[in-house]
């Protein structure tokens, strides 16, 4: 990252190669269309390139930093869009066309980790997992979720907190896969 900070394009290319698929996967999961996901990934990586100095190793891995920016950009994109429940009508077959093929040991470890996280999410009571997914992957605010589910906002907040706390305890042994 020091080389990226100094404006070295080859160093940035390494970062891109290492994390672009995860970035695209997250953006696609959130935006639901290839074109929107591409825009989000492009914006996020150019933002990373121009703000490399802001990476703080003490706050997590480069991957978490990259994906955090993609997540924020995707939420911005979703909130800008006029029709908020736009995804789901996803590009047909994209999962097959762009399914990741070669897997390194690190990627296999990440797949296991992803499976564990998804498992933790599915073991929550449905009303808790629903508010978490709507917020995290759908980009909806608590107010919007309360309105969609016709539920008091205090209940939505409580479910979100309880759900995350349960996941935290279930994932207690999980360690971030580096790099």
């Amino acid at each position: 990252m020091q080389l990226v900070r100094r404006g070295e394009a080859p160093a940035f290319e390494v970062v891109y190669e290492r994390h672009s698929s995860a970035a695209f996967s997250l953006a696609y999961r959130m935006c639901g269309t290839r074109s929107a996901a591409e825009d989000v990934v492009q914006e996020a990586f150019l933002s990373l390139w121009r703000s490399g100095a802001r990476y703080d190793r003490a706050r997590g891995s480069v991957r978490t930093w990259v994906l955090g920016i993609v997540h924020n950009r995707a939420i911005d994109s979703l909130r800008r869009s006029v029709v908020h429940d736009r995804r789901r009508a996803s590009d047909e077959g994209i999962e097959e066309r762009f399914e990741a093929r070669d897997r390194t040991d690190v990627e296999v470890a990440r797949l296991d980790e992803a499976q564990e996280i998804r498992q933790a999410l599915t073991t929550l009571p449905v009303e808790q997992s629903r508010v978490i997914e709507l917020a995290y992957f759908g980009g909806f605010t608590q107010t919007e979720i309360a309105s969609m589910l016709d539920t008091p906002i205090g209940t939505v907040k409580g479910r979100m907190r309880l759900g995350l706390e349960k996941m935290r305890s279930q994932l207690g042994g999980l360690r971030e896969v580096m790099p």
């Binding site: 290319e13 995860a22 939420i75 996280i117 917020a135 605010t141 907190r161």
Partner: protein, 239 residues
């Protein structure tokens, strides 16, 4: 918070999931600076939100994104090298000698910017003398590229360097382009190179002026800019 939980602690989950409306999110972030309970809860739940970043089915990124991103990155990296290692570093603060619009009150800065743009700032504003053969003049900057953006043109022995600060990035798909102009030349401005800003700053080596008196900046299409300006200049600085 001795004995009782902070009443705002339920917002910690909405904060880490970014599910609070923007104004509430900012307010809660401020609150974290003064609430140990909520800070502790955010730290605890952030672990989950970070883990969830990886919890999606993995796809390969389409190669077109890589091509688009890397073409911009390579262009900007090359420009950064041309502009010099210190091009994107903030200049040291000089509290006793503030130049340009940065030190003015908003209304005055806005009014001055408007006047400078309308009048074209024919001669610029001589702001300091940097030695026997150097002069630095402030230029005019259109407010749309940064409400506090500044431009300074330093000329030493016939060669110039343009220092910009407080600039926004150019619009998507465009890049800043430098032009040298001489009002008496009917052929119009001559292209003098592309450049990018990092952290709002750029220090652009204009090179020898060769009799030209005005430096202009426009934003032009990526990746190669234009041969003639296609937009109204957003920066204008004269010797």
């Amino acid at each position: 918070m001795s004995g009782h939980e902070c009443p705002r602690i339920d917002d910690a989950a909405g904060y880490v999931l970014r599910a609070l409306p923007e104004s509430e999110w900012e307010a809660f972030r401020y609150h974290l600076g003064e609430c140990h309970d909520c800070t502790e809860k955010v730290d605890e739940l952030t672990f989950v939100s970070h883990a969830m970043l990886n919890a999606v089915p993995q796809l390969s990124a389409p190669p077109e994104i890589r091509d688009r991103v890397m073409s911009v990155v390579r262009a900007e990296s090359a420009l950064l090298r041309l502009a010099g290692a210190g091009a994107d570093r903030p200049e040291p603060a000089k509290p006793s000698r503030r130049f340009g619009f940065g030190g003015l009150r908003p209304l005055s800065a806005g009014a001055l910017a408007t006047v400078l743009i309308v009048l074209g700032l024919g001669a610029g504003l001589l702001v300091r003398d940097d030695g026997p053969s150097c002069t630095t003049r402030s230029g005019s900057v259109e407010r749309s590229v940064g409400s506090r953006a500044t431009a300074q043109l330093k000329v030493c022995d016939g060669s110039a360097r343009l220092a910009l600060a407080g600039m926004k990035a150019p619009p998507k798909g465009r890049i800043y382009e430098l032009w040298l102009d001489d009002p008496s030349d009917r052929q119009g401005p001559k292209a003098a190179g592309l450049f990018s800003v990092r952290n709002g700053r750029a220090s652009v080596d204009v090179g020898e002026l060769k009799g030209r008196t005005t430096v202009l900046v426009t934003h032009e299409p990526l990746p190669n800019g234009s041969e003639v300006p296609t937009r109204t200049p957003i920066v204008k600085a004269s010797t």
